[in-house]
């Protein structure tokens, strides 16, 4: 079990390094997808099926979005910003972050031991005991996400809402205020309508 987990983690690390070091953008996106698939397998092995389903589905959707949004076959990345002092500074900052978080590893329980075995009044004991009785949902993940901690899910829904509408606002092609205020305002509306009703191939 642990050997399988370690081999999956090594696969994820190798894919991430491939995503960084390759030249073609398409290969980098596919390598990022491989990291996501490995992470979903890790979630499944650690007995978290909700997380595994969400990870696989979102990884595939994000991959399709990325590939469709950016590229065709032959695009290469630039190497600007890869040399010089910047990567060294980023690596040093990440190393300092790891050093400081390793101080917190001493207080965490061992791998595979849940928090509620170590802490007496952990809230997870309450959620697991009263999950079915209070909420009526056998899936305790949903009971926590949408009943006990529904406020956090409201925050998550707001994040998705804001992110999507921010993206749509940034990517719209018309409707921006022009530099010449004498331009007809209705012209931008017709341009937007044409953009969306454009029939035929979108190549």
């Amino acid at each position: 079990m642990e050997a399988l987990l370690i081999s999956l983690l090594i696969f994820m690390i190798i894919s991430a390094v491939v995503a960084l070091r390759t030249d073609e953008l398409l290969s980098a996106v596919i390598a990022v997808g491989a990291v996501g698939f490995g992470s979903s397998a890790v979630f499944l092995l650690l007995r978290a099926p909700d997380l595994a389903i969400t990870q696989i589905v979102l990884e595939v959707a994000a991959l399709v979005l990325l590939i469709r949004a950016t590229i065709s076959i032959g695009v290469r990345t630039t190497s600007a910003g890869r040399r010089g002092w910047r990567p060294v500074a980023i690596a040093a900052a990440a190393f300092m972050f790891l050093v400081f978080t390793s101080f917190s590893f001493r207080d965490m329980p061992e791998f595979g031991v849940p928090v509620m075995d170590r802490v007496v009044d952990a809230p997870s004991i309450f959620y697991l005991e009263n999950g079915l009785r209070s909420t009526g949902a056998p899936n305790h993940v949903m009971a926590v996400l949408l009943d006990f901690r529904a406020y956090d899910t409201l925050g998550e829904a707001t994040i998705i809402f804001t992110a999507v509408f921010g993206t749509l606002t940034l990517l719209r092609k018309s409707g921006k205020k022009s530099r010449y205020p004498n331009e007809n305002a209705s012209e931008s509306q017709t341009k937007k309508a044409e953009l969306l009703e454009d029939s035929g191939d979108d190549e």
Binding site: T54, A61, S134, G136, A137, A143, V164, L171, L195
Partner: protein, 157 residues
């Protein structure tokens, strides 16, 4: 680059209803089996994204128009808050599972566990519309490439 071949169109036409149905199943059974609102919404949106990839923008906009997608996104978010406010009105606690507390259902049935089902449906509709809108916008607007295949500079966009 995209071959709009007949095989892809035919297969996608057959597969799209099943993908959509599976997304609806994951949403509705979210309180009984793993899944829930978020992955179910993404699976539902992938049905529409399949139509967009296989048949083009015109067919995709016929299946889920642009204005309707924006309204569904907003309706999903508002429905989520509405169930929270209804909980406040009925029991005095914001986000209370008022349906389960006032009219409890049997566990392991589809219509049990109160507002969890309603919240799942709201989140599912919201995520579906959002991801379809993002994919639509990212496929309408392309980053132009210069002759060497590099992404040209973004300053003159």
């Amino acid at each position: 680059m995209m071959n709009r071949s007949m095989i892809i169109e035919r297969v996608s036409r057959w597969m799209t209803p099943f993908i959509f149905l599976y997304g609806v199943y994951v949403i509705l059974y979210g309180h009984l089996s793993p899944g829930g609102g978020f992955p179910g919404g993404v699976i539902m949106s992938s049905a529409f994204i399949l139509i967009l990839l296989a048949k083009g923008k015109k067919q995709a906009l016929q299946s889920l128009p642009y204005g309707l997608a924006k309204k569904l996104d907003a309706i999903g978010a508002l429905a989520f808050i509405l169930t929270a406010l209804l909980g406040f009105m009925f029991t005095g606690v914001f986000f209370a599972n008022f349906l389960q507390q006032l009219w409890p259902g049997e566990p392991f049935r589809l219509l049990s566990s109160g507002t969890i089902v309603l919240n799942n449906i709201a989140i599912g509709i919201k995520v579906c519309a959002s991801l379809f809108l993002v994919m639509l916008f990212l496929s309408i607007l392309r980053i132009p490439l210069d002759e060497k295949g590099q992404i040209e500079s973004m300053e003159d966009r």
